[in-house]
Point group: C2
Chain length 88, copies 2
């Protein structure tokens, strides 16, 4: 995904948080579709918000009482890899 | 989409707001894909949040200074129709 502007994951309020800005809605939503499949594979799902070209993602583990666990870090890494692959 | 629990649209803070609860993430995201195509058709896009089986949608018209306009009501109606069709 070319021209995506992203900040690295940061831990905010016991969640991993990332914000991404895409070219337009189609690019943003195409990314969300890929993350949706990743989330199903991991059986671990984000809370996320989209508004036009902007996607915000929060990862935390409900079963662990709403803190950041390896499940979140693993999904976060795979989301990063998705963005790297797309950039090539 | 069977078994979707939804409240009717209500105007909250100068936005049309709706919350929907689906069976699971796949059902919720399948709905979002359909709404994404509607949004592109209308060239009018929601702010929305998804968390597992829950989808929240906010519609307002940025160009009109962030109030509810016919653009929002039109998209809201088509989202309702989508849900009706799917229920049959």
């Amino acid at each position: 995904m070319d021209n995506v502007v992203q900040k690295q994951w940061e831990e905010v309020d016991k969640k991993l948080y990332k914000v991404l800005i895409f070219k337009d809605f189609q690019e943003a939503f195409a990314f969300m579709v890929r993350v949706a499949f990743l989330a199903e594979q991991h059986n671990h799902h984000p809370k996320w918000t989209n508004e036009w070209n902007k996607v915000e993602i929060w990862l935390s583990t409900h079963d662990a009482g709403g803190v950041v666990t390896e499940k979140d870090r693993s999904l976060a890494r795979e989301i990063n890899e998705l963005l790297l692959v797309e950039a090539n």
